[in-house]
């Protein structure tokens, strides 16, 4: 009995192949230009829904983009501060050359230390006087050089600043350390909280906009229930049914991305001054718009398209899986 079944099955596949071939000869593949046109047509036909989708998605993208710009600028600020942030470790006055060299080696061994520069007693004094704008000759013989030998240390990773500092202090023959921990603390706290808020914002907005686009497409699908049933009954493949909706989602994403991009450029151009002055307070400056414009444009368009395509796919999938009576239950 099973043998017979198998034979029937084999015959089936051969016949099915034949049928498929006949279908192909009759028609050919997917009439993509027609389908694309249909998607664009749907977009216009349901303009109020399309409009609301585009507005919501643009607003979300805009907030996402602004968050990213803020994150980027803060990252930049932190890097600037890191660069500026030099810890100066003074070596015990009167330590011999070997001890001074050992302090240098010990400093280099600390993981977060990225640069160690030796400043001799003399060089330090010269520099200090120069900073004050005083000629050395004026003090010669009057005051003796009060500075000990020192090391200028730059550190990465400001989050670990405190422990790095402790390690530096613990090194033998280090008499004193000069640093600006308060500023560092403030900046790292700010960076953490702003980045956290932005990441949450981006995630929530992404999901919300996906949900809204998905709902829009779902509503347009309900209104096109008959079309879909007819398509199925005349033998449309799933791809055929999906295509116009995907195109619709794609165009919505594309338009939203472009709108957000234009608004962002306008905002940064006209209102960017506020951020610049804020950043200048910390001795940093805003990243120029031109530097991240291409990245931003790509990010906007890609995320717009991805969000709205995924949104439309989610709602189409549900429809495609159902057949017959199940399909009508949906509405």
């Amino acid at each position: 009995m099973p043998k017979k079944e198998k034979a029937v099955k084999q015959k089936d596949t051969k016949e099915v192949k034949k049928q498929k071939k006949a279908n192909k000869k009759r028609g050919g593949g997917l009439n993509t230009s027609y389908l694309t046109k249909m998607g664009a047509h749907n977009l216009v036909a349901n303009r109020s829904m399309s409009f609301s989708s585009i507005s919501v998605l643009s607003a979300c993208l805009l907030l996402i983009g602004m968050s990213l710009i803020i994150i980027m600028n803060i990252q930049n600020l932190v890097q600037d501060v890191e660069k500026q942030n030099v810890i100066i470790a003074f070596v015990e006055d009167g330590a011999d050359d070997a001890s001074v060299a050992k302090v240098g080696a010990d400093l280099r061994a600390i993981p977060d230390v990225i640069g160690v520069e030796f400043v001799s007693k003399e060089a330090g004094y010269e520099e200090q006087l120069r900073d004050f704008g005083v000629e050395r000759d004026l003090f010669d013989g009057v005051i003796e050089n009060p500075l000990p030998d020192s090391y200028r240390i730059s550190v990465s990773n400001l989050e670990n600043f405190k422990s790095t500092l402790e390690q530096i202090k613990a090194i033998e023959n280090v008499s004193a350390v000069r640093e600006s921990q308060d500023v560092v603390n403030q900046i790292t706290t700010m960076q953490k909280s702003i980045t956290g808020i932005c990441v949450i914002l981006v995630a929530v907005l992404g999901i919300v906009s996906m949900f809204i686009v998905s709902n829009t497409i779902k509503i347009t699908m309900v209104s096109r229930k008959i079309d879909i049933q007819v398509m199925k009954s005349v033998g449309a493949t799933s791809l055929f049914i999906c295509w116009p909706f995907m195109i619709e989602g794609l165009i919505i994403g594309l338009i939203s991305g472009l709108i957000s991009l234009i608004i962002t450029i306008a905002v940064v151009y006209f209102e960017g001054g506020a951020m610049t002055s804020l950043l200048e307070m910390f001795g940093s400056k805003a990243i120029a718009l031109t530097e991240y414009l291409p990245v931003l444009a790509v990010a906007y368009i890609v995320s717009g398209v991805v969000i709205s395509s995924v949104g439309s796919l989610v709602s189409i999938r549900k429809y495609l899986k159902r057949e017959g009576s199940e399909a009508s239950e949906l509405v």
């Binding site: 029937v8 099955k9 089936d12 051969k14 016949e15 099915v16 034949k18 049928q19 498929k20 071939k21 006949a22 279908n23 000869k25 009759r26 028609g27 050919g28 593949g29 997917l30 009439n31 027609y34 036909a45 008959i226 079309d227 049933q229 007819v230 398509m231 199925k232 009954s233 005349v234 033998g235 449309a236 493949t237 799933s238 055929f240 057949e323 017959g324 009576s325 199940e326």
Partner: protein, 269 residues
């Protein structure tokens, strides 16, 4: 060929029996009426053929496909072999008559040139050439049903399945629609018409399968099998003449199809 072998099926919604040990075979070129009261299982019978519902037991074959094991992605190809006519017409309101019919061909990816040719032919067949640019709401019920039939025919399917095609029509229009199905059957298509209108059924001489409570109650063959009896008036004969002329016009398409079939056969041999 459509074949049901000891098919059993329950409704998914309430578990009641929809089809109970149904065995029936419809050969190519037949005209069959499926009759029964509403809820007797007629619609389930059609839904199974269209691949919309799966059976719980038994074997169902439609053409080359065994529907028990058919894959989801094969369903579109099964449906391309079937021309389906619904009681509520299911025309797309925003499309003209022409586009509604052409739609079925666009779905399978046919080129626009071929589409124009075929739509014109089918519109002549259902006598609606002058309504090509009308929208469904501008048509009478009978005309809408003819558009629906034209759409079912357009893809040259071997089987036409009509679910209560006259349910929304008055007796005169119903008779006209049935004559149209007769004409289609005479052109070689298998026609399966589901209806509860016994009076209408008895005006024609075709096989009648009666379903009741999910079982086949009777299966009466046509008295004059193979011979077509038009009950309608001379009008119909005239229509037949026009049909013949349309066919001549369409010779090119038919030839192409014959050639492609021959090619396939040689390839398969």
């Amino acid at each position: 060929m459509i074949e049901f072998k000891n098919v059993k099926m329950r409704y998914k919604t309430n578990g009641a029996v929809a089809l109970d040990d149904v065995s029936v075979r419809i050969d190519d070129g037949e005209f069959v009426f499926i009759v029964g009261a509403s809820g007797a299982g007629k619609s389930s019978f059609l839904n199974v053929i269209m691949g919309q519902e799966k059976v719980d037991a038994g074997i169902v074959r439609v053409g080359p496909y065994t529907l028990n094991t058919i894959k989801r992605r094969q369903l579109p190809y099964l449906r391309r072999m079937l021309g389906i006519v619904f009681q509520d017409f299911r025309l797309i309101p925003k499309m003209t008559v022409y586009d509604n019919i052409a739609f079925a061909l666009r779905v399978i990816g046919m080129g626009e040139k071929k589409i124009t040719k075929r739509v014109r032919y089918v519109l002549k067949l259902v006598d609606l050439s002058n309504k090509a640019n009308s929208f469904p709401h501008q048509l009478s019920q009978g005309e809408r049903q003819r558009v629906a039939i034209a759409r079912a025919l357009i893809n040259n399917p071997g089987v036409i399945i009509a679910d209560e095609p006259t349910g929304n029509l008055d007796p005169v229009l119903s008779g006209e629609i049935m004559s149209l199905f007769d004409k289609i059957n005479a052109l070689g298509a298998t026609v399966v018409v589901v209806t509860h209108d016994l009076e209408l059924v008895h005006q024609f001489d075709h096989r009648i399968v009666t379903i009741e409570n999910g079982k086949i109650l009777s299966d009466i063959p046509a008295r004059n099998a193979g011979e077509l009896v038009f009950k309608s008036e001379p009008e119909t004969v005239q229509e037949d003449v026009s049909l013949a002329s349309v066919q001549e016009e369409d010779v090119e398409v038919s030839e192409e199809e014959i050639i492609s079939t021959e090619e396939e056969e040689t390839e398969n041999a």
